[in-house]
Amino acid sequence: MAMSVRVRLGSQFRNIMRVCFHENRHMSTAEIVVEKSENPKEPERISLEEQQRLNDIAKNERMEKLLNMRFAYQEFLPDPNPKNRNTLKERLERRDMLARRSNVEIPEFYVGSLVAVMHSDPHAPGKNNRFMGICIQKIGAGLRASFILRNFIDGEGVEINFDMYDPTIQRIDVIRLEKRLDEELFYLRDAPPEYSTFPVDMEPEYQPEGSAVPVNEIKVPLKPLPWLVKWERMGMKGIRDVTSMLTEKRLRMSKLKQFNKPWEKYDLLKMYSETIPIEDQVEIFSEIQEKLHELEQHRYKMKRSRNFVKPTKMG
């Protein structure tokens, strides 16, 4: 009887009933099972539940796909500080970012990737300038997103900070797409020069489409003291063991609780206030996803059409 009642009920109530049945299963299974086998409308019920389940799976997959965009399009997430949040500003900024992306391809790259930037420079004789180096930091939300490239040129360490959505940028090429173990690579300033030296005219390395971004697990040794930062306290994964370089006092200091902050590992509210919640992220990425996909398709077509060379008349 319970089944027949359920079939007539509305869809919202059906969910509630399903939950009740699910919860009370261990108490009243016998009765339901008997009804199940006798009920002629059983196939419909299964298909409904099955459909619900499939819908849930599809929804989860879509959500996961959207949320995975946060790695490649990190700058679309706003500043998490509630003081600085402004939905209108964020939406307008996103629109401008997409408009910029429709003019210039801003490829996916991470801290640790080798990147070359071609930009207009009024001070240069040819009015164009190119710099290539390893990305040591990617920071900033919205139009203020920026990244730092570092390289050794003529035995001198050089770093340049670029705005990602700078209108003077003509082209961004990813020479080698990879990640490192840390989110920032400022320790390269205290490392020997060979760890941040890259030939300027390096050929781009291509990877098969759809492959995961490789992680370079290199551990960088540091130059002898003094350093710019007390690296032994920073807990960096990409630094080779430095304990032999340190004095006993400094080593002892680095193990103090106040620098390691073990209580921050599970500080949930801190974690919450540093991130954008899932719901907001899904909203943002579902807004930009379509446009980004469109741009990608357009670029793919253009690339194909560019490969075709028109025959020219000779003589």
Binding site: V19, E23, L67, R70, F71, Q74, L77, P78, D79, P80, N81, P82, N84, I139, G140, A141, R144, K257, K261, W263, E264, K265, Y266, D267, L268, L269, K270, M271, Y272, S273, E274, T275, I276, P277, I278, E279, D280, Q281
Partner: protein
């Protein structure tokens, strides 16, 4: 320059929009603050309804909400959830209660706790007090949402209000 961190994913808090970690003054500093919250959170899961100072209750509420939603999202079999529960819950039997009783109970809920302002007892320390409870607990309700208009006190109060206004107008 601030930028959102992307490694962890957290569900949105339902009870408030503007969240900012409180300092919760403690002689042991930030470590002591976390220890206070560990105690409160354990007590909340153990007794399901506790009375606290308002600041501490509100802070514990935020932690409890994120804690429960993270465990619901990751699943109770996940190593991350188990580590987190081991850190936050100080008594072993409460961890069993969490995974075997509370997680199934809240499987379809969006928020997990209620917070009520609690009147001070005079004379006493006049610090704002609060009652923090888990939803769907077995205790009687803290406050009834339907106001009882027909109770004697309410009728008398209403009449006295009327009388007061009439007095004011006639004067």
């Amino acid at each position: 320059m601030n930028q959102a961190k992307i490694l962890n994913l957290v569900a949105k808090l339902k009870h408030t929009n503007n969240i900012k970690p409180r300092k919760l003054k403690n002689y042991r500093g930030p470590e002591g603050r976390i220890a206070m919250l560990q105690k409160s959170l354990t007590a909340l899961l153990k007794y399901e309804r506790i009375e606290l100072n308002f600041n501490r209750a509100d802070e514990t509420r935020a932690y409890a909400e994120i804690f429960m939603s993270q465990i619901a999202k990751q699943g109770s079999q996940n190593q991350k959830s188990i580590d987190m529960a081991n850190f936050w819950i100080l008594e072993n039997q409460i961890i069993y209660k969490l995974f075997n009783v509370l997680v199934p109970r809240f499987s379809n809920d969006v928020s997990y706790t209620n917070l009520y302002h609690h009147p001070n007892v005079y004379p006493g320390i006049l610090r704002p007090k609060a009652i923090l409870e888990l939803k769907n607990n077995s205790f009687p309700k803290v406050s009834s949402s339907i106001k009882n208009q027909s109770s004697v006190e309410n009728i008398l109060l209403k009449e006295s209000h009327k009388r007061h206004f009439i007095d004011v107008i006639t004067q």
